[in-house]
Subunit: 446 residues, 2 copies
């Protein structure tokens, strides 16, 4: 018997509960899955394998799981920053999406996003956007594992000029996912309870429930939207959604910033999952999600980058660093969210949030071989006392050397193996001046 | 006439007030200074120069200025995290410093820090620590520009077992700086108003005032220390220090988190400078400094990383990203601290904080040739609409390709040119297990 790949001389973090780091350890991959994991081989000969990777002491851990992204919005990266939220959304983002985006632009934008995600060690991304079939095709071409969701709103949207078609488009997207590789999940993202009516929310949730896939929606990102839902329905957003029957274990609430303790309890009781996007929440001055409180109630929380229009990167290392620090100062307690917990949010817990916790998020024999290998000991990771501390407080996206999804290398020695970066860059650089000109016409410059 | 170095085909950000980015621009260096800066040369022949660097469209900007660091504390990186502040400081950091550090360890630790600083585009660092002569020697060997401060406290400290010697040691350090290259400033860092008595603070400030160099001290980092100063003196920390006469234009207040509006006014009136260290402040749950309020009062504010024991990195890109985001959510206003302002804090304003604003921080003819060149358009910096937005919200330390200080390359193509990284790594990796064992004896493990 021979393994497909043996990664050895690694500092292996399996992310299994209570597992200690394996110094000088190894990870074996076969048929796209983790075959075995072990400690230092000492002077033993290496077991037979088709490929060997000497990690030279670098860390090996499960690939990162980005639980919320609007990948193709990399087109808008840095196009409109530091603006009041309403101006940003209504004067720039919505008009640019409606007037400029098309299916091809979503495809190439998503490939650009994929390049950034892979270079930052993300192996699974939950992408919620319009022209979701084009996005799914791009993520498939990149070799990423992905949960792709077609966006649904009750106003004209990219690819859905008449909102009456929004559920039909979503259903067709779901149906067209049949027969695709198992690493691609197709589902629906309802933008929010203030942009989708009760019927839309219920019908969209129904579509996903029947297929057993996660249902995404933005929940209580800003104080203003909470007030609006309350004014319209007389209920808190969570109580309103619960009344519609759309909250269950396959619902992922994104942002979840403004929640009362009662709403937190209700989310916990329903088994709702939460995607926490701190960099976006801070940049838009939305607020700080009650993550320690949700975790103490047993709610599964993962990390997300949100889209590059509001972040402006797709880098989960920044989210880890920020999540670990932000909640400490917010709670006035430096023991909140210790490093190992934060690494779990970005891996194992993220997989749970996406309903993939039985297949992903730990280096356990039988799990999908989605893993990353970090560079061995650059200056900022030296010395090494606690790998979890380094991952959260000082490692960066650029430290990721190799990325594997389902046993296939997507990056090897910082070189992307599935993507033609030259072609992606050429497409994006030729399209972006056109978008800038389009937006220039939209609003008077300061 | 020929220049020493011409960097061309660059996106040049001079950081001069109101200067627009120069697309396809160039920067000429001669005799260690910026000789000239210009826009796209079009089809013109390149002017004569001994060395040419084609930036391939990458950004060129002034080197970053780290206004507060305890460089040698990289030894403690990740050794004790996520602890209550008092346990962290009194059970681990202080005993480890007192019982384990020596002059040689400070030298090698500071070299390790220098490697990280240079790789992250820092060209000037303000380092405050013990065995400051060893730290200064390391920073000199690395080729960095540095403001080196000998630490002063009224209890036994590394290299100063009897606190009665603290001012003598500081004076000798200052005196020994005479005759060193102009890029090295020698000065004093009083740890804080709660660890130094009035006489120590005044005598230390006197030493620096006579030499016209900046005087550093930690100010109002935590609520507890503010209460302690108030209890001991009946005054707010700022009023107390003002009464001692130690607040003036050459005083740098580090952290400055817990300030009343009256204290902010007083700092502004005295021309005191502020070093803002948000990653450290969050990680220790110290609090959030009133930076927008200080800026609106005209106080000069720079960014600092603090030491790696409390951060745990020396990466100013993280500080930029966090400062830009944090104050937005803290103020509930997404227009606070726009990107261009934050880049200025990390460069031009940082130089002002250190009293070097006339020589550093902008690419102005006659200024020191301290500059960095970024990699041209990696995926996460694509597309490009606004370079300042990219620098703050998505660029990372690893994007820095080349680093120059005073006309000399410290890093070229990610390769360190002044440091022997193999030797530094060997020294640190042989010392760190010894430190871990020392600390293991200090406290029972969980």
């Amino acid at each position: 018997m021979s393994w497909d790949c043996l990664i050895h001389k690694a500092l292996v973090l399996t992310l299994e509960d209570v597992a200690a780091p394996l110094c000088g350890g190894w990870v074996a991959v076969k048929d796209g899955q983790i075959a075995a994991v072990g400690p230092d081989l000492g002077s033993q000969a290496l077991p037979p394998a088709r490929e060997y990777l000497d990690a030279q002491g670098g860390m090996v851990l499960p690939g990162l799981v980005n639980t919320h992204c609007h990948a193709a919005m990399v087109w808008f990266r840095g196009l409109a920053d530091d603006l009041p939220l309403k101006n940003w959304l209504h004067d720039v983002i919505f008009p640019a999406e409606a007037g400029w985006l098309d299916e091809e632009k979503v495809y190439w934008g998503t490939l650009l996003a994929a390049a950034e995600l892979i270079r930052g060690g993300v192996t699974t991304v939950a992408d919620s956007y319009f022209f979701a079939a084009a996005a799914r095709r791009a993520l498939a071409d990149a070799g990423l594992r992905a949960v792709c969701a077609q966006g649904v709103v009750d106003f004209p949207a990219p690819g859905v000029p008449d909102p009456k078609d929004n559920l039909r488009v979503a259903r067709e997207f779901l149906d067209s996912g049949a027969g695709l590789p198992a690493r691609l999940t197709s589902t629906v993202f309802c933008h929010s309870p203030y942009t989708c009516c009760a019927e839309t929310l219920q019908a969209a949730k129904d579509l996903t429930r029947r297929r057993g896939v996660p249902f995404f929606l933005h929940l209580s990102e800003t104080r203003e939207e909470v007030a609006e839902v309350q004014r319209r329905t007389g209920l808190s957003p969570v109580a309103y959604l619960d009344g519609l029957g759309v909250l269950d274990e396959l619902t992922v609430a994104v942002h979840a910033v403004w929640l009362t303790p009662e709403e937190q309890d209700l989310l916990a009781r329903r088994g709702v999952k939460v995607s926490h996007c701190p960099e976006s929440n801070l940049k838009l001055a939305a607020g700080v999600a009650p993550v320690p409180q949700l975790l103490s109630r047993g709610v599964a929380v993962g990390l997300g980058t949100d889209g590059a229009a509001s972040n402006n990167n797709l880098d989960l290392w920044g989210e880890m660093s920020l999540a670990a620090r932000l909640h400490k100062v917010w709670q006035g307690d430096p023991t909140v969210l210790p490093a190992a917990r934060v690494v779990a949010l970005a891996t194992r817990e993220g997989a749970r949030v996406l309903g993939l916790g039985d297949r992903l998020g730990t280096l356990t024999p039988g799990a999908e071989a989605d893993l990353i290998v970090l560079a061995p000991a650059p200056p900022h990771l030296t010395p090494m006392y606690d790998p979890f501390s380094h991952l959260v407080y000082t490692a960066r996206a650029g430290d990721v050397e190799h990325v594997m999804v389902g046993g296939r290398w997507l990056m090897r020695g910082r070189r992307l193996t599935t993507l033609n970066w030259g072609e992606i860059a050429r497409r994006v650089r030729s399209g972006s001046p056109e978008l800038a000109a389009f937006c220039h016409k939209l609003r008077p410059r300061a």
